[in-house]
């Protein structure tokens, strides 16, 4: 069902331009990696705090509020560059298990981050049992790890 869409993506002007350029993929991928570093920091700061590590003298709410703009900003860069990378080789991605692992993890990670995790990190800490903070942090780390590991493995498959 999705196959025609993937083929259409491959034929787009942007996809073709990135694929035929000798350096475009490398440049976009570098920006993707730079944004990975930032999003990694923004996610880890908060998740580690929820697990009781890192800036544990600060309130979760404060750490999360400070990290939030960097999380959203780097995520946007990740999405834009990620779409660029995808458009250059959609039919390869279609047959890559790693790609689908990444996409499913990404959908889950984003949904979880902007609903449950956002709610927990903006709520009054005292109203929550600490164990729930830890559970949320572990789910967040697991989902984002799936995105990262899946993403890296796209390059090894095919």
């Amino acid at each position: 069902m999705l196959w025609p869409f993937f083929q259409w993506c491959e034929a787009t002007a942007i996809g073709t331009a990135i694929r035929t350029s000798p350096w475009a993929f490398a440049v976009i991928e570098s920006v993707h990696l730079l944004a990975l570093s930032v999003i990694g920091g923004a996610v880890l700061m908060v998740d580690l705090r929820m697990l009781g590590f890192g800036l544990r003298n600060q309130r979760v709410v404060d750490v999360a509020r400070n990290a939030f703009p960097w999380l959203v900003g780097s995520l946007l860069v990740m999405l834009v560059t990620g779409i660029g990378l995808f458009l250059s080789e959609p039919t390869k991605c279609y047959y890559s298990t790693a790609f689908w692992v990444k996409m499913i993890s990404l959908a889950l990670a984003m949904t979880f981050t902007f609903t449950v995790r956002r709610k927990v990190t903006t709520a009054d800490e005292m109203a929550l049992r600490p164990v729930w903070l830890k559970v949320v942090a572990l789910v967040s780390l697991t989902l984002w790890f799936g995105v990262g590991a899946g993403g890296r493995w796209i390059g090894f498959s095919g």
């Binding site: 000798p22 490398a26 991928e29 570098s30 990696l33 730079l34 990975l36 570093s37 930032v38 999003i39 990694g40 920091g41 923004a42 996610v43 880890l44 700061m45 580690l48 590590f53 890192g54 800036l55 544990r56 003298n57 600060q58 404060d62 750490v63 400070n66 990290a67 703009p69 960097w70 790890f145 990262g148 590991a149 890296r152 493995w153 090894f156």
Partner: protein, 195 residues
């Protein structure tokens, strides 16, 4: 003195060949190296942004460095071990790769920047610990660190591309010099005589 004979010797060792030819170990080591970016560079970025006064402004700088340092050190250790293994798997090509050389030089500069920060403005940290925007010297160290790590990440990624590899001749004299390529004299002569 050249490092090349050592790299050539290393490339012939059993461990190097095994890692180079492995189906899963090499990609696994590389994945750990890349994903540890989140831990090591991610934490460094957060610290640098605090030094610039762009995030966590209400947090003491000393608290940031004390709390994040163990995580950064752990991340750095993983980076060094996996990075050394990646070099061990492909020593000669890495050594003669211009991006690898840029990366190593920038690593040294980043280390120097960190040292200057620690023996310099960070010594007097108690004077400006709670400044929402730290003094110029600290901001400079933070910006330099951000820039250097960005160059290190990008050049690290570029090592994978063979645009300037020694076996892809002709290359410009500058590239051959910078990458330490040993160009056979006959090839050199044809290159100079060709229009």
């Amino acid at each position: 003195m050249s490092f090349l004979p050592f790299c050539q010797w290393l490339a012939e060792t059993r461990g190097s060949i095994a890692l180079h030819e492995s189906l899963y170990m090499y990609p696994l080591v590389e994945s750990v190296h890349v994903l540890t970016l989140c831990l090591f560079v991610g934490m460094s970025v957060m610290l640098d942004l605090r030094l610039l006064g762009w995030t966590m402004r209400q947090v003491r700088v000393s608290e940031m460095t004390n709390r994040l340092m163990p995580w950064m050190q752990a991340g750095f250790a993983i980076m060094i071990v996996t990075g050394a293994l990646l070099f061990y798997a492909i020593p000669v090509r890495s050594y003669q790769n211009i991006f690898f050389r840029i990366k190593m030089i920038m690593l040294a500069v980043a280390g120097l920047n960190a040292c200057v920060f620690h023996v310099g403005i960070h010594r007097r940290c108690s004077d400006w610990d709670l400044d929402r925007v730290p003094p110029a010297a600290a901001r400079l160290a933070g910006s330099a660190s951000l820039l250097l790590w960005a160059v290190i990440v990008v050049s690290g990624r570029m090592i994978a591309y063979n645009w300037f590899d020694c076996d892809k001749q002709p290359q410009s004299t500058f590239i051959n010099w910078a990458a330490g390529c040993i160009v056979p004299s006959t090839e050199l002569r044809t290159r100079i005589s060709s229009p």
